[in-house]
Subunit: 244 residues, 2 copies
């Protein structure tokens, strides 16, 4: 049975403030929870309506469907909700290809970008402190477990770009076209905010401005979705590394 | 002032059933509405809290902020809501590059894919009848006006693929890698459902199975987001057309 305090705790983890105070976050659904269980993330408590998990039993608490409905953030909850501990932040390595986000606000976009990094073997995702929290419930759900395999770090983006020895690329409406410019195997690719793109202070630290050429005859499309732009650019960087 | 019947009508347009009965749909926000006003779409009524639109004044009705809140589907409504007429469905042309969707369910994904088609000059987007309605409020908002420039057609996908003379490509977890296989300038690229991919009956009609190679060492990522996969594949098709 769920106690009032447990319900209160879980509800509070819907807010960034409490996640950070308590160093805890929630994951829902059998598939997602299993991805976190087999990773280095540390389980605090697992609430489930069915005995389908292989983990330390003293951390598992059986609940009813009615109780699950009280704690879920989903419209259609799926079997279980788990509380995990947030890992300590690990600084990005100084080699390889990285993605950096300048004030991405939409949880779905961040989740999709984390999946994308996982697919293309980008180990570090660097986020400005103005980017949505990766432990936000919607982000965690959208990552489909990829969050366990990508190191997401929140830091002062300007300071990071100033000090990194890797070449810094930024996606803009105009710049070198990605299809024909020389793209190295290592570097930081900056993606900007959904509405405003890359901020002026970050733009000043970009070494090479790159762009995705538009093929429509109308040429009035304002922009691609940021996760889509990231997908196209990352694909092109990785394609070059095979070509070599 | 808004009448009760007007409020009822607008609310009803949140449902596909009523949109199809009445042949009407809604668009919100100044930017989005302006894109539809300058397109071939026919305005029925424009409700606005500010005189910022250049259009036939007998179709414009001033409303208050309080009234806007009664009819909006958004958390933060922006100035205006317009009702437009749905255009008659136009069959896809028999040339060029096309995207076909097999049961895409998420409005955000469909909206993003419509923007993508617009960016890459894909004039026809073919949707299975099981794909989410492109006049769904969330889809219209996510397209950022691109819906006015892409011809979206709902039809029996199997029949279409059976009869088209264009080569049919489908994205799968295994197949020819997009980076090295020969990609023509014309064809239909099929993208599958978010959870289940391309259905068996559609798979049987695919001429060439293509795949996006995975670069992660873990190789456990299940899939990319469908709009991201579409972005990567479409980018690669278009890149080849410049290379030639």
């Amino acid at each position: 049975m769920l106690s009032k305090n447990q319900i209160k705790l879980i509800k509070s983890l819907g807010q960034k403030k409490y996640r950070q105070q308590l160093n805890l976050f929630t994951v829902e659904g059998v598939k997602g929870i299993n991805e976190f269980l087999k990773s280095n993330y540390k389980l605090q408590t697992l609430f489930t309506t069915a005995s389908v998990f292989e983990t330390e039993s003293h951390l598992v608490q059986d609940i009813t469907e009615v109780e699950l409905k009280k704690i879920t953030a989903l419209k259609n909850p799926n079997t279980a909700l788990a509380i995990f501990e947030m890992p300590q932040q690990r600084l990005p390595s100084n080699k390889g290809l990285k993605i950096a986000l300048d004030a991405i606000r939409d949880p779905g976009n961040l989740g999709t970008i984390i999946r994308l990094c996982d697919w293309y073997g980008v180990q570090d995702l660097i986020c400005s402190t103005t980017t949505v929290d990766c432990y936000n419930t919607k982000v965690v759900q959208a990552t489909m477990g990829s969050l366990t395999r990508v190191n997401v770090t929140y830091l002062n983006l300007e300071s990071y770009l100033e000090t990194t020895k890797l070449p810094v690329f930024g996606t803009f409406m105009s710049g070198e076209t990605i299809y024909t410019s020389n793209l190295p195997e290592e570097g930081v690719i900056v993606l900007g905010n959904e509405a405003n793109g890359i901020s002026k202070s970050v733009e000043d630290l970009v070494l090479r401005k790159i762009t995705i050429p538009q093929f429509g005859t109308s040429a009035t499309t304002e922009s691609l979705n940021v996760a889509n732009a990231g997908a196209i650019v990352l694909s092109e960087f990785r394609r070059r590394s095979i070509e070599k």
